[in-house]
Symmetry: C2
Subunit: 620 residues, 2 copies
């Protein structure tokens, strides 16, 4: 009934879709198996993509030739560049999405990929031969063979939904949980754990009084995620901001004794940085209000997502608390919020390719690795899909370094440090965040994507042009000079220090108060010259001028680090010989089998002294 | 958390959506509760609306002010008027739908109805007080009050899915079954039964060889369902026709010993007129091929529905059999076909308003009443919604007679005859099918819809214009005459008998070989006159000219019948007194409590002699 596939992907969430798309586009024959073909790329929680650090990830996925950026662009209803007022390392694209269109667009995209087949069913087990995965077994008992398998089960493995004192099995509201896989993997020697996450109630926008909320419009000049020529938004839908208050908190507190979290019914750890509203008022008891975003679920729907109000308190408490929010007096709910507990596999059991140590050619990606968030899931899917393809076709592993991409940071963190609570990306996790900007993901990654066979010629040309041209512009800005006579009038007018001698535009642009528009006003010829280039390229040049020193500092640091990074460790290296390092370090090293000394240095529990010892044994 | 609603509708299938929409539009406060708001108006089986007799129902729903016609028009990818070559009683509109768009359009429509609220959850019980329903109880235990409840659970009540020897609980593939309601109703004294239906596998259109199939295009000049000004299709997608063959049958027969139907594992009766492919080759063993339609599931998707290949044989048998069909040699399946068994409630327990006899203000509509098909479900939903609203607002019952609408035939059949197998509409079920045409549903029903408060002013004006104008045209055609000299040249040319004397266009148009285009060619003045009217109106006039005698005969018959129909029977009429009628008739009459002598006459088991006895007792 089925041929033997190169790659079988289990689950069609964000991870599964990117995995299947990338492996198929690179030339693998791929089967995507998912429980329900109507829920391909369902956004389980908020209808939004990107955000701080997450937006950078979407840009990176796009730069490599993944789909999430393009699909987000085609289905967004609002776009904002967060943190515009801060340095470019912090600029973070974020969009609201039309939930239905997003899923539909993913489905259309997937159906148009030639090597990609579909099968709708629950997978209940893997077929393993000699510690190597060779296929999957479906709920109906069908065996489908493959050279590799990528598991992306999301929150479905033994998923259990909690609302107040009630709980029931489910992978998402209204959907079944998946059983069998955890049990089999544990039997095979995998360690599994339990995590939880939550979602807010959904409400009827028609029942709200918008006059009492602050409108939050999209950017005036909305950008987008993809470096390709996806269309820009011409109209947008607004979100609204409101706040909880003491009355809301009071009502919520009434439900605490029935809370599945506070009562200990939920064992799994939740995302600390995406806490439920009860968590927030519990942990920050002194704060008398918390912000809430009311976000539309699509272009036309009246359904609203209440960002900031994730909760698993009893539904009548949720309702009563909502009615105490300004503008929510007559609120009507569509469904209550809930918490969900699910199995995950501590990611220290993975290689940097996302292949498991225990079972060859078996890859894990997404929430199953203890992460949270669509973007975190999607990028793992992309990487697992690439590596599964490469392994099957005897090509090199594809690993991104911490100084190359947030994706590199994420996977390096997961594999080396593991995670106790749902792992979410932050800019603070990246040592080199001035290098890992949203504006240069293409410059960092598209050449790689091209060599993988994922990013097409067109992308390559675009990025080469952007790189060369922005460098040219920087050079030009450095070369061209202006005299005090010509400059000082305008500089005085805008309150910037006057020149004493002929100076390069470079030195002027470096001033914090000066932007490229000032330069254009200052000098007609510069204005004329710059008119030849589009905004994106000029922006790239400006960032390089303004942040050159930061960038260079980080480049230096990265280079230092990469010396360790270039020292490979044989996977069969015998750590037992190293009597002088701590037992904990020895155990971790044996388990994680770091591929480089750099990776070894980041394993939690491995000290700099331990690294020196290993270095000596490596003969350095 | 909830106010008391006028009407709660349980289930958002075709029946539930029409019910909720109609009651809300008429002014009731309505809550629609459904298990998953992402599956509102999901087409469970084939992506198509209408067809023989079913298309007439959609037109009737539309004429009354329901939604199904409008939504079908907005989301169709192909339209055909079936049986165009037969008389107008047989003309039946049918469309292929974009499955996703259809559901999305329904959802948008519902969200824009002011009095309509939503709640996503499974309903597990009803709240009953003094044999009257006063609300529902959800899976989480929330009690929601209402003055009436419409149950439209479709195939979900204790739904059980079968594929070969495997079976599992589910209301549709990938969706949960609903429990609790049947059990409670049975406890309350309801009789419940078990039925089954089936669906074919879904396949990947990219794996088919279209060259070996016949293309079936949409109509050249596609019409539509709604009498309102919904847009007409400007492009269409084709379906394809192919056939099973002996090899296919051979493979299928290999699976018979594992068939859940033949082995007796499925207890419920299936739809005789929509049989599974294994049923077909079993019952018609002499036929060496059966027709198969390959129907696209939407504008862009590669997913194909294989109409005519419904099956619950083991999935590998399904697959192997498919590969033996011409053009299917390399077929890839997305998921296998399956059969589903579910609870229904014999509809003899209902009044003609679809209210149950046992529990006041409780209505049943759709598949729960033993019917099959979206159209059958939708029209029941509409009628139940109307009647629930009217009852709550102390307005008259709304019942359609057998000579007024297929909807009337359907409900009358269900209530009086009951059904052992899934009931599907056919033109043969209607005694007055020349009256119940697809072209005049508006003339038959829109005035009623207007008085109900469902069809708007605009619709009323349109229909009054159509009626008056078409009558005027008939009169004109009767009045205007043409001389042999003017006519015979052309008549001879087109092979129609020549005139002997000056004759009316009426007499000429009545000839089978003559259509209105001929009349226009025959006479410039007629052509000029007709140019003032649009096609729909002219067609109406032509039908009246050509089929006048049939129409009048049926009108006469209907009048005769309606004499019995007008004789009301007191619901408390004591049938026990009637010793001279059969025991069976007495029991049935006591149970069904016919509202008129006409209805009594149609109860299966009640003889004409019995009717005479009752008539005497009624004092006639
Ligand atoms: C209630 C809830 C609240 C959340 N809240 C947040 C939040 O506040 N912030 C945040 O960043 N993230 C949140 N998330 C997480 C976010 O939804 C996930 O991180 C993201 O969807 C994970 O993507 P994934 O591809 O790993 O898995 P998912 O999107 O969960 O997709 C898993 C897919 O696998 C399929 N599947 C599972 N098991 C099987 C099987 N055995 N056989 C076949 N198919 C299978 C499923 O049908 C599904 O298609 C929340 C998730 C949920 C459910
Ligand atoms: C596998 C299959 C094959 C079919 N094949 C054919 C065919 O070949 N030809 C044909 O004409 N028809 C066929 N049908 C029938 C057709 O789908 C139905 O007639 C039609 O959908 C019935 O509409 P409905 O509104 O009564 O119920 P459904 O469309 O089944 O909708 C029921 C709704 O109620 C909800 N629901 C159920 N129980 C609860 C509860 N307790 N609480 C809350 N919500 C609830 C469900 O989520 C769903 O939204 C098939 C159906 C199935 C499932």
């Amino acid at each position: 009934m089925f041929k033997e596939y190169d790659v079988i992907v289990v689950g069609a969430g964000h991870a599964g879709c990117e995995a299947a798309a990338s492996a198929a586009k690179m030339g693998s024959s791929v089967l995507l198996v998912t429980m329900n073909m109507h829920t391909i790329a369902q956004m389980s929680c908020n209808p939004a993509m990107g955000g701080v650090a997450k937006g950078q990830i979407v840009r990176e996925i796009d730069a490599l030739g993944g789909q999430s950026g393009i699909i987000s662009d085609k289905t967004m209803i609002q776009f904002r560049m967060l943190n515009r007022s801060k340095g470019p390392a912090m600029w973070s694209p974020r969009c609201q999405s039309d939930r239905m269109m997003f899923a539909q667009e993913w489905r259309d995209t997937m159906e148009n990929i030639p090597n990609l087949d579909f099968w709708q069913e629950m997978i209940e087990g893997l077929i393993i031969k000699n510690n190597r995965v060779v296929g999957v077994r479906t709920g109906m008992g069908i065996e489908i063979k493959s050279k590799s398998v990528v598991l992306t089960n999301g929150t479905f493995l033994n998923g259990k939904i909690h609302i107040g004192e009630k709980n029931f099995g489910g992978g998402r509201t209204g959907e079944k949980a998946a059983h069998g896989i955890t049990e089999q993997l544990v039997e095979l020697g995998f360690e599994s754990g339990r995590m939880k996450t939550g979602t807010p109630p959904r409400i009827d926008g028609r029942s709200l009084n918008w006059d009492f909320m602050e409108e939050q419009k999209g950017d005036d000049n909305p950008e987008k995620f993809s470096y390709t020529n996806t269309p820009k938004l011409t109209k947008q839908r607004s979100c609204y901001v409101t706040y909880t208050n003491e009355k809301v908190h009071e009502v919520l507190r009434k439900g605490f004794d029935k809370s599945p979290m506070f009562s200990g019914r939920i064992k799994g750890l939740g995302p600390r940085y995406c806490p439920s509203v009860e968590d927030k008022i519990n942990r920050f008891a002194d704060k008398d209000h918390h912000q809430i975003f009311v976000e539309p679920e699509g272009w036309n729907t009246v359904e609203m997502y209440i960002n900031g109000f994730s909760t698993s308190l009893p539904e009548e408490i949720q309702y009563e608390a909502l009615t105490k929010i300004k503008g929510f007096e007559n609120v009507k709910m569509f469904r209550p919020g809930y918490a969900i507990e699910y199995d995950f596999f501590p990611p220290t059991q993975l290689k940097l390719t996302l292949e498991t140590h225990l079972i060859e050619n078996l890859y894990f990606a997404g929430q199953i690795n203890g992460t949270t968030g669509y973007e975190e899931a999607a990028c793992q899917g992309l990487m697992a899909g690439i590596n599964a393809h490469n392994k099957v076709h005897e090509k090199d592993e594809f690993i991104l370094k911490r100084n190359e991409a947030y994706i590199g940071v994420l996977i390096d963190d997961l594999v080396n440090k593991g995670t106790d609570e749902p792992y979410r990306m932050f800019t603070s996790r990246a040592e080199f965040r001035t290098l890992l900007r949203q504006d240069n993901a293409d410059i960092r990654l598209t050449v790689k994507g091209y060599h993988l066979g994922l990013a097409d010629e067109n992308r390559l040309e675009r990025v080469l042009y952007k790189k060369e041209t922005s460098e040219k512009i920087v050079k030009e800005i450095k070369n061209r000079k202006i005299s005090p006579d010509d400059a000082n009038g305008y500089l005085e007018q805008i309150g910037s220090a006057m020149l004493r001698e002929k100076s390069s535009f470079y030195s002027i642009l470096k001033r914090p108060e000066i932007d490229i528009e000032h330069i254009k006003t200052l000098d007609n010829e510069m204005a004329e010259y710059l008119r030849n280039f589009d905004e994106e390229v000029i922006e790239q040049a400006v960032i390089h001028v303004k942040y050159e020193s930061y960038i260079e500092k980080e480049l230096l640091m990265a280079e230092k680090m990469s010396r360790l990074e270039d020292l490979n460790i044989n996977p069969n290296f015998d750590y037992e010989r190293l009597h002088s390092i701590s037992i904990e370090a020895r155990q971790k090293l044996k388990k994680i089998k770091p591929q480089t000394l750099g990776q070894a240095s980041r394993i939690s529990g491995v000290s700099p002294a331990d690294i020196s010892v290993i270095m000596i044994h490596l003969g350095r």
